[in-house]
């Protein structure tokens, strides 16, 4: 009997800790619904007295969020696609063999994911301008972000491939498949879930990307929502309810995906990140 | 005198939520005894052992170790040692550090520890391996370190949780003898959980057979072999397992009529109610092969297996009977043999309750 009560108390404590940690999220939602003057109330209220549900439509129009989010989506999907195409096969090979070349390749890949974007942007920008890529800024950003996130993708997906038993591929080869066939028809479908989860993680990362986008894309109509948010928050800004509304619209799709896929994401992370 | 009762369990009950895992267990273990807890998976033997260690809490009853009530005492204060199925050796410590872990917690002096380590290492035969890590040891060596870790503490009782399951067959036979020899040498009190009834029979002074959270029968090994109290115990103890045949008590009450076609009557010891439905238990090693004319049972043979020292004969057709014959046999599959058995070796159980009659 006491075990049930301890479990209940522990659950309550866990919920309290989670609520405490996620308070900033709550604050974002709450602030966006307050009126322009209510946000300056002291003491700040925990619940808006007069929720302004119309603020979302207002900010959407005011800042042209449709276009910003569309640009974010383009960059995110482009990055996800390119990363998946290049990274999946690479992860497959790195999972299949274990020799000195593979170790070297793995080491290099691991090293490449540590490079901060804010330090790599300088040579990338100069290089891009020399090759005329700055005329296609979104493509340039997709290339740069892909290079940044691909090592992470490869590490995660490699872990997925390592959980597919080697005997299955050998059986496929004995049954008459070529290597391409075995990979495409047998191994890939089994790794599909892990690859999808990793790809979604990449999408979410690229959706929020900031440094490369801000540095490379000068034309406002091509900028993603992260840059738009940054521009919205000028030095002397006071319309925090609108800014939070912008943030809400920007972040809620990501959070929705996260909540739905939370278990898969956690297990994918834990199996891949610690190797 | 209660000090002689090293372990005393009275009315032990344990619930996991709505699942009643241990039902009114009563067990007394005198000092120096080697007790085996046997039974099929899920019978509660491991739960009982872990409750003794304090790793599981009990829902009801009294548990005394060394004369003191231990119901709510945490494991570290109970002064019992356990050898785990997986050995649970500390992987980041050497053999020596594993052995001295409990002593270091008590801040025993360095000289004391050295002396104790040398003594135990000699006892378990690992003096050369004190500086190795567990991952560098074989299964048998790890097993001995696990035991050494328990021995060095001179605990009130040793608890073994299926310690030999992870070893290969030959090593198991060898370690059985070693563990029992160690127990005798130390004058220890041991509780040994296993699902292997051969281990229980060969090692223990006292065997406790459990099923579904209840003690079906307890006694010396040969007691359980000769006079099983229930059909379950009869079928559990002894290898190959006892043969069971449905039967009816004959009109005179001194014989049974085997229900299956082609089988006859057997004489039993004692008197039973005529017409009663029973199950007859016949051990394969007690069935004697003889001429068909004088035999009580005629059995067509389906399979003959010889290990070189004994031969197993299995009946074909509907009758499922196994016979063990020492040495070689000329009998071939397809032959018919006559079987007879001494009346005092015929076990009779009530068909419904399984109780011995």
């Amino acid at each position: 009997m006491t075990e049930k009560w301890t479990n209940r108390i522990l659950l309550l404590v866990a919920l309290a800790l989670a609520a405490l940690y996620l308070f900033p999220l709550y604050w974002m939602y709450v602030t966006s619904l307050k009126t322009g003057s209510e946000i300056f109330a002291t003491p700040p209220g925990m619940v808006p007295t007069n929720p302004q549900w119309g603020v979302f439509a207002y900010v959407w129009e005011l800042r042209g969020m449709g276009r910003f989010l569309w640009n974010s989506a383009i960059i995110a999907s482009g990055t996800m696609a390119l990363t998946a195409i290049l990274g999946t096969g690479c992860a497959y090979v790195l999972a299949r063999y274990r020799n000195i070349w593979i170790d070297v390749a793995l080491f290099l890949v691991l090293m490449l994911q540590v490079l901060p974007a804010s330090l790599m942007i300088t040579p990338l920008f100069v290089g891009f301008s020399q090759f005329g890529l700055l005329n296609h800024p979104q493509l340039a950003v997709i290339l740069a972000v892909t290079a940044k996130v691909m090592p992470f993708f490869v590490v995660l997906v490699r872990a997925t491939f390592m959980s597919v038993p080697g005997e299955l591929e050998e059986a496929a080869l004995v049954d008459g498949n070529s290597r391409i066939g075995a990979f495409w028809f047998i191994v890939l479908p089994l790794a599909r879930n892990g690859i999808l989860v990793s790809a979604i993680l990449i999408f979410m990362q690229a959706f929020g990307e900031f440094v490369y986008s801000k540095s490379i894309i000068q034309a406002v109509e091509l900028q993603p929502a992260s840059v738009g948010l940054n521009a919205f928050m000028g030095p002397n800004t006071t319309e925090w309810n609108n800014i939070m509304a912008y943030a809400t619209i920007y972040v809620t799709p990501i959070l929705a995906i996260f909540v739905i896929l939370q278990r898969r994401i956690v297990s994918g992370l834990t199996s891949g990140a610690l190797k | 005198m209660s000090a002689e009762k090293q372990i005393e369990l009275v009315g032990i009950n344990k619930h996991y939520g709505s699942f009643h895992a241990l039902k009114d267990i009563n067990l007394t273990i005198p000092k120096g005894q080697f007790v085996a807890l046997v039974g099929p998976s899920g019978c509660g033997k491991s739960t009982l052992l872990r409750s003794l260690a304090g790793l599981e809490s009990i829902s009801g009853g009294t548990m005394k170790i060394g004369g003191e009530v231990m119901n709510d005492v945490p494991p570290r204060k109970r002064d019992v040692a356990m050898v785990f199925q997986s050995y649970a050796l500390y992987p980041h410590m050497t053999v020596e550090q594993n052995l001295t872990y409990s002593l270091r917690l008590k801040r025993v002096s360095k000289e004391e520890m050295k002396r104790a380590t040398e003594e135990v290492a000699k006892t378990i035969g690992l003096s050369q391996l004190l500086h190795r890590y567990p991952r560098e040891l074989s299964g048998g060596q790890r097993q001995r370190v696990a035991m050494g870790r328990a021995i060095i503490r001179h605990p009130k009782a040793f608890l073994f949780d299926e310690p030999l399951s992870n070893l290969d067959a030959a090593l198991r036979v060898h370690m059985r003898k070693e563990i029992r020899a160690l127990h005798d040498r130390l004058g220890a009190t041991s509780v040994y959980v296993t699902h292997d009834q051969i281990e229980a029979m060969t090692m223990a002074d006292h065997v406790v057979v459990m099923r579904d959270g209840v003690i079906e029968q307890q006694g010396s090994p040969l007691e359980l072999y000769d006079r099983p109290a229930t059909k379950f115990v009869a079928g559990f103890i002894g290898s190959p397992a006892m043969n069971f045949l449905p039967a009816t008590i004959g009109p005179d009450g001194r014989s049974v009529h085997l229900d299956a076609d082609g089988l006859g009557n057997l004489f039993i010891k004692g008197v039973q109610d005529p017409g009663r439905k029973v199950i007859v238990g016949l051990r394969p090693e007690h069935l004697e092969v003889g001429p068909i004319s004088t035999a009580a049972i005629t059995l067509p043979i389906g399979v003959v297996e010889s290990t070189g020292s004994v031969t197993y004969l299995t009946g074909s057709g509907d009758v499922d009977l196994t016979v063990v014959v020492t040495g070689r046999s000329d009998i071939r599959p397809g032959a018919h043999v006559g079987l007879s058995i001494a009346p005092e070796r015929v076990h009779v159980f009530d068909a419904e309750t399984g109780q011995a009659l």
Partner: protein, 300 residues
């Protein structure tokens, strides 16, 4: 030619293509820029010479210039403080939470996963939210601190040179707690339960079990988590851009933000690449420690 093509479909050719194409891509977009960074740090770069590779070679002048600037050492010190305090805070809180969630109660794993929401959010949104929380007169953090009696007057996290860095530190700790917690939780889960049971029977209290069993067996996990923490903290940019932009007066400026500022605000690409080269060297050392710590795992 046929053998090459058939090798492509069956066997080594297939593997080689699958690996080398991505590696070439990474080489072109990560490896070359790395080298280019070093090259540019030895050149004199201005708006007009951006388009060419052949720029005047100035040797170590850029490095000397950078390290003789008055703001360099305070910024480096800020970076060190930022990194050390962030890692310490994230690790301590993350470990505490991970330990809490090892208690098996129903719902534990699901609630634990919710914490990762902070990890998936765009950095700029996290920065925007914390910017508002850290506001001087109207931010909710000051309100909470005053209600708890910890401070009596508002701290101007964003505009006070004494506090600006700490504001970003707080936001960064919040950001990284979840990731630390998850990785540490995995490390904790890898310790077999019967080791704790054996230790308990051997006489160890909970605290002793933590010191003699948990911590030693977590050594490689802890090494990995701290190295990863170092790497990620040095990558942190969005929070600075959203909260303080490195100000006021460089009081909250750190090396990775400063490098970007040099290139994209001052248009001094040579300085930007110089600072980048120095910081990349630091990051690479940290990553080598990370890789080595994950290789030496003690498996029972």
């Amino acid at each position: 030619m046929n053998r090459l093509l058939s090798g492509l479909r069956d066997g080594k050719g297939f593997d080689i293509v699958l690996v080398t194409v991505p590696l070439l891509f990474l080489f072109a977009l990560s490896g070359l820029p790395l080298i280019y960074n070093v090259v540019m740090s030895f050149q004199e770069v201005d708006m007009f010479s951006l388009g060419t590779f052949a720029r005047p070679w100035v040797g170590f002048n850029n490095y000397i210039a950078v390290f003789s600037q008055p703001e360099t050492w305070p910024i480096m010190r800020n970076t060190l403080v930022f990194v050390v305090v962030s890692i310490a805070g994230q690790f301590a809180i993350g470990f505490g939470l991970a330990l809490f969630f090892t208690l098996k109660f129903p719902g534990a794993s699901y609630i634990r996963g919710l914490f990762l929401a902070s990890w998936v959010m765009p950095g700029l949104v996290v920065g925007a939210i914390w910017n508002w929380i850290l506001a001087g007169d109207f931010g909710v953090l000051n309100y909470i601190l005053k209600s708890l009696g910890i401070i009596s007057e508002n701290i101007f996290w964003r505009s006070d040179t004494a506090w600006s860095l700490w504001g970003v530190v707080i936001a960064n700790i919040w950001n990284g707690v979840a990731f630390n917690m998850i990785l540490l939780a995995v490390g904790l889960a890898g310790i077999p339960r019967d080791l704790y049971e054996a230790a308990a029977l051997d006489g160890a209290t909970a605290w002793q079990r933590f010191w003699t069993i948990t911590l030693p067996m977590m050594r490689s996990t802890i090494g990995a988590v701290i190295s990863l923490g170092l790497i990620f903290t040095l990558q942190q940019f969005d929070l600075f851009a959203a909260i303080t932009s490195g100000g006021p007066a460089n009081s909250s400026n750190v090396a990775q933000y400063w490098a970007w500022e040099q290139s994209f605000r001052q248009y001094d690409f040579a300085k930007g690449s110089t600072i980048s080269v120095v910081m990349i060297a630091v990051v690479l050392v940290a990553s080598i420690i990370y890789v080595r710590s994950t290789r030496h795992e003690v498996r029972g």
